[in-house]
């Protein structure tokens, strides 16, 4: 009985001339061929997503970025690039045709599962308690015979009940019939597993449709929106404190960020996010995704009005080459031990004029690559005599004008070209260094022609009508904002699947029909688990103080 379309029950009906318009839909959704076609369709889609390049996640929603990405793909796909993109072949898992196919699969599985429920429920709650006599002899199923024992029917019934069977007894034509059912409810576990499958699919679908990911890079003391421009669910993420801990070798030990979330103009959440423990609010998770320690807060004010005209926390992501040097006098006394911040960029050399403390003499000190562009050399000369240049290799010491210059090592100082700071963006550069005592300071090139501004924390410098203030070193946090509305579905589905499988495998249903007639007890049964019937028959025989005399079916040799 592979298919039993029962007569329509009385009750609410609709349709035209008695034909229910949902019937063809139901036939389609419960068709095995249709299910296989759907699975094949989704499998091909998955294959396409592997074979064809997919638009990187961060670019999605950004038309300019996608346009640039498509330009690159034109080298491979030529005139097909645009049609492929329009068809969603470069974005398979977000394409409407894929999501539609997945949704139909979910609906199909759901309808199939629900439609199996009624017959299965009947089978559990109203099982077939009577079978014809032929079932004990001819049915291709599990069966066994036991020799006659005294009070066989009563003792068998008692034994079955003791073995946790639900037993029904019938008397007919000199024979006693018993029906015994154990763990009938376990058959419903299949629906738990099916429900889990639906939940997995629904979870994936919902994540695709309602999921959101955005990566923020936020400086301490600043906020960033989680959506570009305006959005009904817009939130502002403020980084109160970004912390990066490192060991002596510079290996990161821990990153954590204290966050405040604002929505609708007020604070709605506050907490700490770490790599392993994201902060959550309103269905969004705020993951610690990065850390950058070389930021500098810089404010410029109009000196006449006091109005701020420039205020940024600059992420000094570039490195400018600089020389770590020591200068000693003829007696070997250490006069200078510092990293030289370059302010002059001449051809391939970068350096600055330094005044040697305690001596007062000035030199241009900088770096340039060697002829092979493989190593850095230090260049030292009196400011007005470039021809008297002395080259010092890394680790080397040279004497210049009675002083000993040691080039300890080349290093990189965090820097950034800050276009908003100077009229000519090409001429602006901000470099952060620190004094031998560890105090950070900022060197700004560009705002004032021909001068490098050196700014120490919270010590404003007024020049040419502007007040420049270095507000100190600031750290940045990389925060990944993620909303995955399907994640709870997946968790619930995983739990349901586990529960369903455990019941299916470890709580097998067993049904026995027994006929006690004359000198023989015949047993026939249906077992969900291979060998369960034979094992049960032997244990029943043992409990009755006898042995199975004949048996058929799976596991008879078990």
């Amino acid at each position: 009985m592979a298919r039993a379309e029962a007569p329509q029950r009385a009750g609410l009906r609709f349709g035209w001339r008695g034909v229910d318009p949902l019937l063809p839909i139901w036939r389609l959704l419960t068709s095995v061929r249709f299910a296989l076609a759907l699975l094949g369709f989704l499998a091909v889609a998955g294959l396409l997503s592997i074979v064809l390049p997919q638009v990187p996640a961060p670019m999605r929603g950004n038309e300019a970025a996608i346009s640039a990405w498509l330009e690159v793909q034109k080298g491979t796909f030529g005139p097909f690039t645009e049609p492929f993109y329009r068809l969603g072949l470069f974005n398979v898992f977000s394409a409407r045709w894929f999501l539609g196919g997945l949704a139909v699969l979910v609906i199909s599985v759901c309808v199939c599962t629900a439609n199996r429920f009624a017959p299965t429920w009947r089978n559990v709650t109203r099982p077939q308690e009577r079978v014809p006599d032929g079932f004990f002899d001819r049915a291709a199923t599990n069966r066994a015979s036991l020799p006659a024992v005294e009070n066989g029917a009563d003792r068998l019934e008692a034994t079955l009940r003791a073995r946790r069977f639900r037993v029904k007894r019938f008397e007919e034509a000199g024979a006693t019939y018993l029906f015994a059912d154990r763990f009938a409810w376990a058959q419903l576990a299949t629906f738990v597993s099916h429900l889990a499958l639906i939940m997995f699919l629904a979870g994936g679908l919902i994540s695709r449709v309602g999921g959101y990911t955005n990566a923020l890079f936020v400086a301490e003391g600043t906020t960033s929106p989680i959506f570009a421009v305006s959005h009904p669910s817009q939130m502002q993420v403020e980084v109160v404190d970004a912390v990066g801990k490192f060991d002596a070798a510079g290996t990161p030990l821990d990153y954590r960020t204290e966050l405040v979330i604002y929505q609708g103009g007020r604070e709605v959440a506050r907490g700490v996010t770490t790599v392993n423990s994201p902060m959550s609010y309103g269905g969004y998770r705020f993951h610690q995704a990065g850390y950058f320690g070389e930021g500098a807060g810089l404010r410029v004010q109009d000196a006449s009005t006091g109005n701020t005209v420039y205020h940024e926390v600059l992420a000094l992501e570039q490195l400018v080459p600089a020389a770590a040097i020591q200068v000693r006098d003829s007696q070997g006394r250490l006069l200078l031990d510092d990293v030289i911040v370059p302010t002059d960029f001449i051809d391939d050399a970068s350096g600055t004029v330094i005044t040697v403390p305690g001596d007062g003499s000035q030199f241009w000190v900088g770096l340039r690559p060697d002829a092979e562009q493989e190593t850095w050399q230090m260049l030292v000369y009196p400011p007005d005599d470039v021809k008297a240049s002395t080259l010092v290799p890394a680790g080397g010491t040279r004497s210049v004008a009675g002083l000993s210059f040691t080039f300890l090592e080349p290093t990189g100082l965090p820097s950034l070209s800050a276009p908003g700071l100077a009229d000519d963006p090409d001429q602006s550069l901000v470099v952060m260094s620190q004094t031998p005592e560890g105090t950070p300071y900022l060197t700004a090139l560009g705002p004032v022609d021909g001068q490098a501004l050196t700014l120490y924390p919270e010590q404003p410098v007024e020049i040419e009508g502007r007040i420049y203030t270095f507000e100190g070193r600031r750290e940045f946090a990389g925060v990944e904002v993620r909303r995955d509305p399907g994640v709870n579905f997946i968790w619930v589905a995983a739990g349901l699947l586990l529960a369903g499988l455990m019941v299916t495998f470890y709580v097998p249903r067993l049904r026995l029909w027994a006929r006690v007639r004359g000198g023989e007890t015949s047993l026939a049964g249906l077992a969900e688990k291979s060998g369960a019937f034979q094992g049960e028959a032997r244990q029943l025989a043992e409990a009755l103080g006898t042995q199975v005399v004949s048996e058929e079916g799976e596991g008879k040799d078990a």
Binding site: R13, P21, L22, P132, P232, Y262, G264
Partner: protein, 223 residues
Amino acid sequence: MDPEENTTADEVDERPQRRREWSGGLRSVVLPLAILAAIVGGLWYWQNAGGAPAIDDAYGTVELPEAKNATGRPPVAEVGRAGPDFLLETPAGGTLRLSDLQGSPVLINFWASWCPPCKDEIPELVKAYDKYQGEGLVIVGVNLQEPDGAVRDFAQDFGMRFPIGIDRDGEVGDAWRLGGPSDGIPTSYFVDEAGVIRDFFYGPMTDDKLAEKLAGVLPEGAG
């Protein structure tokens, strides 16, 4: 007892999982889908419980009084049409309604403190306001969805003495079609004394561009 189920076959059907049973459209199709929808809906609600705080519906885009609509056509953010009216909270707790400003040329600037181009532009707006305030110019800064404190601090820092309203849920920004093709801010609209949009600009304006655009709404000879 159902005879078909219980007594007629030698073979007991041991494959109930292969049965399917048409029980009418409601039971066989609608009911399963309703159950699925209930489960998905329930979990969705659970996922989103405790979401966004309620925002006062009184604020945002409001109906433009007919008497204040010089065009007689529905307001829309297009040149030659009356701009959509709005009522917003100010960072100080007051209110700001666009239509109340009719009679003055208005520059509506959508901005946010996290937006670098906005920060580049705001000093120019501050200068323009100082320069043209005497000519009746009103600049309205519409901040996008930031906390009051952040807006207040920023406005004070940059010397923004013109009226500022906070678009709490982004509805006003949507009504005013921010960003155009670049989908971003700053965006500025130039509205004449009758409340009709005369010009707009996407992106940060230099002082020259700002002066050029303002000339379209300011009285002749202003500045």
